[in-house]
């Protein structure tokens, strides 16, 4: 449980507190040359003190912004805290963003200083340097490949440390004095929201807001300094930042940084985190991997898996929540835990997970149930950058898969007549940086934040989110059309990676589909189907048939839901390319940018509704290095079977 933290109203103050209280406990771990290396809280604080002195010596002053670009690295987190020590504001940017995307935040916040991970990030900043005249100093953590860079803006992280040590020797009390000047009302950090429309907005969050939310949630879930978290998502995303910065600073738990993006699975198994956080797409990818491996398994194993997963589907959730279950089923589940669920949790690296959250996007109910049924306490969480994440959390023992749970302590909710959710909470953001217009639109005079999400509270007071307000539409006959709901249903199939549904103002629903290269590739190999690459595979009749079966199963489900029976998918096509954030089709957090896609692929949408059975497409693609090229293909369009609404049948 978090201790008495009165008076510790900023992150640097919390850091000093932990360095005193639990100086020898691990704070950050990172795998270097194959071995986990640990920073204790005391070492963490020492590093931050030196860094802060170095930054101050370089001219970084109160109120300045510090860009932080890179993966989860202890030194980058230390740099965040160092900026805060001086009353500055760290601005984490997405490490996989292309150079052009980084220009806006840097210009917007007039950033002069940046701490980045490696050569890749340095190259991007140098590329946009002519457009960002304010950028004066760039420090890089990893010196590899940097030997021949002579730009005067550049210096290695070590140099910053050296200068910091020298400055500390001259004036030992300086950093502590600066830390003491900070207050909870100061800005702690600024996160640029990826936003599904328009330019990103800098969300300004205070120390008080972040610390309050982090603490309330930690108290509710009983987090302590014995917990361990694997920090593997982009630190520029508020979710990762809460779990790897704000909450450890409140509770004193340890975060672990994986070696690289490819080693996350291995690292997860080695570390055995107790507290885990994953957006639905990651959970989906894990399940896809499991499914693929099960398909490759021998017959006996497959039969065991199928038998026990069916059992888990039936009683797993109830057992996890401590609801009554018959003795026979309990015994069977115990056997299943021994043979299937336990080993499966182990493979996923989740053997020790006590608490897991998913958020960032709605999760398919089947996907959600899968994890809970094998004994992982996965819960949904609702929140956004503007609310310091925690708005609603599903409580232990009362998880309803189709809701995101009741509001957490301190949060007030209300709804507009259009069903838009409004929030008031101590965790709300201060403003959008230099964008009073947007701030005014999002946060009204009484302090209600307009989320843009449509939803309602159910009978038990749990929040149910339907879709984005602007995305919820109506079919031509006036019935409800919630595209995301359909897409999530489609995405639960391992073969479908992404889907975009159209239907607002139309007489029926049609869909774009992206196949999952790994799953469908494996499926094709099993059938001895040769293919040359994504485009080829995506255009195969057999694959269309496979996707059609998935869609028809969704249609059968929809037919059973009276409100959504008319949303059955009539026609579909498989896109010739994967939707990609580099092409602006997805946000950096991989949400589909529906409007952009509808405009970009307007001819395809028209073809879906015109009844043609193929369409020619030419598209521009942008490569990771920023260059563009065009590709062209002929796409097939196929019909899917729809079903008579069950309710109507019953009525008849």
């Amino acid at each position: 449980m978090p201790e008495k933290l009165d008076g510790l109203d900023t992150f640097p103050k919390l850091l000093l507190y932990h360095a005193r209280e639990r100086g020898e406990r691990p704070a950050v771990r990172e795998k270097a040359l194959g071995i986990w290396q640990t920073w204790t809280w005391r070492q963490y604080a020492d590093e931050v003190r030196v860094l802060a002195a170095g930054l101050a010596a370089a001219g970084f002053a109160r109120g300045d912004h510090l860009a932080i670009v890179g993966d989860n690295r202890p030194r980058l987190y230390a740099a965040m805290c160092a900026a805060q020590c001086l009353g500055g504001i760290p601005v984490p940017l997405y490490q996989d963003a292309v150079a052009a995307e980084m220009a806006f935040p840097i210009q917007n916040a007039e950033i002069a200083f940046a701490v980045v991970e490696d050569q890749e990030q340095v190259d991007k900043l140098l590329e946009i340097l002519p457009r960002c005249p304010t950028l004066r100093r760039i420090w890089y953590d990893d010196p590899r490949g940097m030997r021949h860079y002579a730009q005067r803006e550049l210096a290695p992280y070590e140099r910053l440390l050296q200068e910091g040590r020298a400055a500390n020797a001259r004036d030992p009390g300086f950093v502590e004095t600066e830390i003491a000047k900070g207050s909870g009302e100061d800005t702690a950090a600024m996160f640029f929201t990826s936003g599904t429309t328009g330019n990103p907005k800098g969300v300004v969050l205070t120390h008080r807001a972040l610390i309050d939310r982090a603490r309330v949630a930690a108290e509710m879930e009983g987090l302590s300094d014995r917990d361990v978290v694997l920090a593997y998502l982009p630190p520029a995303w508020i979710g990762q930042n809460i779990f790897s910065y704000a909450q450890p600073f409140v509770t004193g738990y340890c975060i672990c940084c994986p070696e690289s993006a490819e080693t996350v699975m291995t690292d997860m198994r080695e570390i055995g985190p107790t507290y885990y956080f994953a957006p639905p797409r990651v959970l989906e990818a894990l399940l896809t991997q499991v499914s693929i491996r099960m398909e490759d398994a021998g017959r006996v194993k497959r039969a065991l898996y199928e038998y026990f997963m069916a059992l888990a589907q039936r009683v797993g959730g109830a057992i996890l929540e401590g609801r009554p279950v018959g003795l026979a089923d309990r015994l069977r589940y115990w056997l299943g835990d021994l043979l299937v669920y336990g080993p499966l949790r182990n493979v996923l690296g989740m053997s020790r997970v006590r608490l897991a959250y998913t958020a960032g996007e709605a999760i398919g109910p089947d996907l959600f149930k899968f994890y809970r049924s094998i004994g992982i306490n996965l819960k949904q969480l609702y929140g956004s950058t503007e609310t310091s994440v925690f708005v609603c959390v599903q409580p232990d023992g009362a998880v309803k898969p189709d809701t995101v749970g009741p509001p957490v302590a301190g949060v007030e909710l209300k709804f507009t007549p259009e069903r838009e959710l409004l929030i008031r909470s101590p965790g709300l953001f201060k403003e959008y940086y230099k964008n009073p217009q947007a701030t005014l639109e999002a946060k009204d005079a009484e302090g209600w934040f307009h989320t843009g999400d449509a939803g309602y509270l159910d009978a038990d007071g749990h929040l149910k989110i339907i879709d984005r307000v602007k995305d919820v539409g109506r079919l031509a006959d006036g019935t409800l059309f919630a595209p995301k709901y359909l897409e999530n249903k489609l995405k639960f199939f391992p073969y479908i990676k992404e889907a975009v549904c159209f239907g607002h103002g139309r007489d029926r629903v049609c869909a774009f589909v992206n196949i999952d290269m790994e799953a469908v590739g494996n499926w094709a190999e099993k059938r001895n189907m040769p293919y040359s690459g994504y485009v080829d595979l995506a255009s195969r009749d057999e694959v269309y048939e496979l996707v059609r079966e998935c869609i028809e199963r969704v249609n059968a489900d929809l037919a059973a839901e009276p409100e959504l029976a008319n949303s059955q998918i009539h026609r579909f096509l498989i896109l010739h390319k994967e939707l990609d954030a580099d092409d602006e089709e997805l946000t950096r957090t991989r949400k589909v940018r529906r409007r952009f896609i509808a405009e970009k692929y307007a001819p395809l949408v028209e073809a879906l509704y015109s009844g043609r059975d193929s369409v020619h497409v030419e598209a521009r693609v942008r490569y990771e290095d920023g260059r563009t090229g065009t590709i062209s293909a002929d796409l097939k369009i196929r019909d899917a079977k729809t079903f008579a609404p069950a309710a109507a049948k019953r009525a008849a």
């Binding site: 194959g34 590899r144 030997r147 690459g533 390319k577």
Partner: protein
Amino acid sequence: MTADAAFAVQAQVAAAQPQGLARAVGEPILVVENVSLAFGGVKALQDVSFDVREREIRAIIGPNGAGKSSMLNVLNGVYHPQAGTIRLRVGEGWREFHDMDPHEAARLGIARTFQNIALFKGMTVLDNIMTGRNLKMRASFVEQALWLPRARREEYEHRRAVEEIIDFLEIQHIRKTPVGRLPYGLQKRVELARALAAEPRILLLDEPMAGMNLEEKQDMCRFILDVNEQFGTTIVLIEHDMGVVMDISDRVVVLDYGRKIGDGTPEEIRRNQAVIDAYLGVSH
């Protein structure tokens, strides 16, 4: 391969583009003079001479059967030429090859990779690279078996060196994977890692990019350039892909039917009439 990569292959992307290499190519360290090699009546190499300078990337190219692999095999002592001399600079002096065997070549700092990957398929990536440290191990069999202090110290030291190479070649994620389960492109990278583990002065690469797709080739090019730049390793490579050769080498030797028909910078080779004839054919 992702779909994006597939498109990259289809589109106009050229091979890796190295930036101006700010490294100093030094004096010759390996000199081949009038070397001839015959297998019975087949003359694999006839009177071939060239030199390799310190820290340069030297390519040997030529059509099939031109004698490229034979040349490489002569350079690390697998074949012994019937005529001619090969000299290697060792410290201040020169060492002449007579009946040098591959083991001795390795001790003198010549490491190589093979056209058909020659790794231990059942062993992990880590263990495979560790074998590259073999020559550097001093502890005796008994010391190692009993895990005595010297063996332990050595093991740590070698493991560290291997981990640095793993980090350098970005293969952390397959550290514990048996090599036989890896795709071809990664196996090639592991083989390069094993050759690097010997900390060679001269690295011989036999078709490092054969059978790779464009993305894998670009990666491999980058790693070869990085090795050359970071460790100052002299590299002699055989390669079929002309784009790659022209992009990354400092100088190129062209062989045809066992004879040297060209030698110079990529630019000179591109303009060399004998080379153009050998590659494109010539009407008689």
